[in-house]
Symmetry: D2
Subunit: 361 residues, 4 copies
């Protein structure tokens, strides 16, 4: 299950905010080795150090900062690619790499809702990876190439909180109001003049993603086709002056009777294939239930568990739906780069990566 | 309707964050004149300048800063009193003043839910002032004394947004997620270490107030008794790093069919007795409807209309309830001191204040 | 001295952060009327409402928002022009307008240090306007056209604090450490990811401006030539997460003996031609001395006096130089748009504007 | 040099902001083991979990959270004590422990300037520990007990930057303007209403500490007596809305000629006994010189090197003194708890701790 050698990875869009998170997560990764950092033509040819305004509060790894940035066309010697590309270019570039025989694990939104592209959160729907077979067929990809996407950052934490409830009781309705961190808009992203001391009640396209992606992730495969879950989601999104960590006020209506204790128990007990398989980036508990009434909080909790867990607190009855809770997750770790890395680990563990390595050299 | 002379007012709890707002609003008020600033024993006997850490971004009025702070017991020469007292002392002090024959307009929570105390937002339920008659009887108050409360800050803006919809279509369900400003916690209130760059998903007692006070304000008088409105409200409250301005993500289910255009129209057209009577602090439009998708925002909008309007934007359909919207108001102006001042203006205009003035001298 | 009719003004670069301040200050100005808003080709032809992301916490004036934005070439019917242009275009555009016979009052840095261009703070060096004569000659401008600049925002407050000391005692050395607001970088300016919760100890070119412009402003005219003041200034600049208001920790070494009381007195007593002439935008006291040890503060003080005063506090002896103090001013009001408006009022009062008005029609 | 067994430590004032940093640093320390957490009577008798509002963004160690908090009187079984006590109680309590035979490493200001108490930064003045001998004599302490203090947080970084320059060239004058983080005021410390979006140009007593402690730390021992360094320091202090990390704009006048390259070299090359002895908490380079013009920054740099290094950037000539620079350090790590831990490690390595351990049992 563990790869025999460290797999050579390319990071597409390596200089942006999410790209930097990929660099930080993959340096010293036990299975993966950064072999290439690729970016737009503006950056290509310069060293990573020159082209990148490094945003993280520790030094960029020396090995990477001295790399020369490649352009974004597929190149040889790569076992798998991570995409932190912006939506303006991800659509084509990711498919180019897949067609070149490289498994691509993408954080971009472009192909998430394509019916033949798995939209995967490993604890929830690892079986959706079987869509890769029809993807290869429909898109005529070589045996080793495919595309897997992770969810939008806000969706990731909502889906994680809903999944155990949906399994145990069925979720009929979910309303979610998000308070999203500034880092979710990339770099430079928001002007300090706009967001400092402010709340902005709008993020383009975000409410639609929350409503649609959640249904796909919680959907079920029937004869190779994905049936989206019959959950009605209503979202209201807000940007708040927080650096990292999306907080969500969530309410749900369940399809079967449940007590508050039941809800707490299924959330607490939730675990999945990453935990069972011991994937390197899997948090011990994908959901951390907090009983203090004023938790979780981004400033205190979002860096815990390496930013890979979803924190759920404030469980209480809801007079309009059934239950209310506060959900928190790290938007650029589990909600972006970390989610893709875990997807890649899942695919490696399932033997989907590496078999065709020779082919693309 | 307009008083023949400027009425002499006392401000109880004048040194705190809300007390300062009272001072700022009442200095230069056309009907009222600050005759006394009262505070706890710790401050009494010192000048206002010495006792008060002034927080507003302009100078405190000279006339007030040189006043010596009185203790909180009722004193003569006062036509009406405003209470910015903390809940720990407001309960008794306010009643002491009413028993001394002084009309009290309170921002404290203590008596809001008492069945004989009007909880008033002048545009919504000015008729609730008729509860004063039974209040006098049940509490054996002298003819000129009574107690009127304004709503909790978050409730004020929710009730304002719901009122026209409830009148036009009936509101069955309302869910509200608040993002509340730091000034709502008073001074010193929150530690900067706790709230800067953070979201705190808890404010003690606030969700209960949102659920209960809204029902009382939107209730109807039946034979002198207040029937609370049959609206189910579910609230989730959050503190965010904003100085002034509570933002609320609201969803409603209506009791009768309505289009989005209908909803917009009744909000836009809403007006009440303060506007009809031309009360000095009444905003021209109690609800300002905003059509830009990313508005209202505290940083851009909360100071407009002298902080006395409720801003509603982001009107759109809701897949779980019927309609969604973003609601914003100024928590220490309309949501606190300004709300009480408007209540007092309403009472004066209705002839409830001043008749018995001679009695309490 | 007061103009016989409201003078017609153009605002160049009207859609940016400083441009918006010009719009806000000039709407309802007793002497000036906004006749034209001009901006880059990207905006020209659209209405101001469409082209401008309005950043101020009150509504843009209706009369201006419905104006169609002009391009930046000189057009007729304009009595004077204000320039909020960025340095990338200001150099040529401003001279084009001056050559077309229009007096230009500029906030841009391009021509500030030109030997024939007055760099004016009206309380300090109104006599520098006499450089206009040689400017007209050297640049062959028509009789009515000329260019006057205001100082860099940080320089404005430093120069204001130094001027009375320099007059009274001579200033030999001045060291200044600035903590500058985000709005000083324009819009969008700084990324929230960069500045929230941070201090950035660098602003390109700012230290040089503090050292050079101060010497020019405090310089003296000798036979029509400007002798820069012999004051050595050393500056260290920092950006801090404040929206408006530059705070400066200043220390000075004087050329003559002075007590702390002497220093306080000359600062307090400082007044100039704007005050004597009653210019509409002149603050009653150009310097407001504060005796509380923890003042001035941007959050509490910067909006006072319509943002046109310089606040000086924390006066105390310095063991390295002679005296230390904290200086504060509003960087986009007195430090930018407000400074230019006051310059224009000065020029009008001195009869320098309007005489040649007919010529440029 | 390394102790034969893990030494048992008590943390005095363990529940406050600095106390928590001690807990975090000492849990898993190779030489020390937390044996006791002590606090005021209000907390004593409760578990650490109950009594402490944990502020750090990771979980408090389980072993400590289950400890019952002791009162602050000396108790047996303790090899050394760390004091995070507030100045209101530290004075007596620390001496009580020293008199009971326990070496005390204090972060409190009370005894820092006592002539027989070493004020130590291990890289700069480890030899000052020899003052312990006269301390024992003058205060009649048992052989094993003594008191060592670390410097004020702001002083720590200033002294660190000055020390190599003073050794190499002599420092005659130093001016420093600080921009200090909120955590420096403890918890709850500053109200968010006061500091968010603001600069407060005052911290009580801080300028005096910068001027006096720096002279003591850089002083020299002459026949057992400490001669303070003849450096004139002038400080202006400001509080800024940053969570952790004090930034200082520093200028110096040297006693001997030096080029900018010379200055850079001696800062870069600086190293001391902690590095030579390989103390567990010693940063590899006590001073990290940064050549990017906009560094160091608290948000990007303060957590690097485990918060134990001093970052110096922006080296450039100064027209008033000789050289300017920006200095940054972590105020609650190197500037508080971490500084004390390093002092204790130094004392252990020098054989000053542990010899008398049996005596105080």
């Amino acid at each position: 299950m563990k790869p025999e050698r460290r797999l050579q990875v390319a990071i597409l869009g390596a200089t942006g905010a999410v790209g930097q998170r990929f660099v930080a997560l993959l340096e010293n990764h036990p299975w993966f080795e950064i072999a290439s950092v690729a970016a737009s033509e503006r950056s290509a040819g310069r060293t990573y150090r020159e082209a990148c305004r490094w945003l993280l509060p520790y030094e960029a790894p020396d090995r990477v900062t001295s790399m020369v940035i490649a352009d974004m066309s597929p190149h040889s010697g790569i076992d798998l690619a991570f995409s932190a590309l912006s939506a303006s270019v991800a659509g084509d570039v990711e498919l180019d790499w897949a067609r070149a025989g490289v498994p691509v694990f993408s954080n971009a939104r472009n192909h998430r809702m394509d019916s033949d592209v798995p939209l995967v959160i490993p604890e929830i729907n690892p079986d959706h990876l079987s869509l890769i077979a029809c993807q290869r067929e429909s898109r005529q990809l070589p045996p080793s190439g495919f595309l897997v996407t992770n969810a939008n950052c806000s969706v990731t934490f909502l889906a994680m909180a809903l999944a155990p409830l949906h399994r145990a009781f069925g979720v009929k309705l979910a309303s979610v109001v998000t308070m999203q961190a500034v880092s979710g808009a990339g770099y430079p992203g928001l002007s300090a003049l706009d967001i400092s001391g402010n709340v902005i009640p709008f993020i383009a396209g975000e409410e639609e993603k929350l409503e649609a992606e959640t249904q796909k992730i919680l959907g079920t495969l029937e004869n190779g086709t994905l049936e989206h879950a019959d959950i009605t989601v209503s979202a209201q999104v807000n940007r708040v002056p927080v650096t990292d960590g999306h907080t969500e006020s969530v309410a749900v209506k369940l399809g079967a009777p449940a007590t508050l204790g039941d809800v707490r128990d299924v959330l607490q007990a939730f675990s999945g294939e990453p935990q069972a398989a011991g994937l390197p980036s899997a948090p011990p508990h994908p959901i951390v239930v907090m009983d203090e009434p004023d938790r979780p909080q981004p400033k205190l909790d979002v860096e815990r568990e390496n930013g890979m867990a979803t924190f759920v607190g404030g469980l209480r009855p809801c007079s309009v739906l059934d239950f209310k809770m506060t959900v928190l997750g790290h938007n650029t770790l589990r909600g972006a780069a970390g989610g893709s890395v875990l997807n890649a680990e899942l695919a490696v563990a399932r033997g989907l990566v590496g078999g065709g390595r020779g082919d693309n050299r």
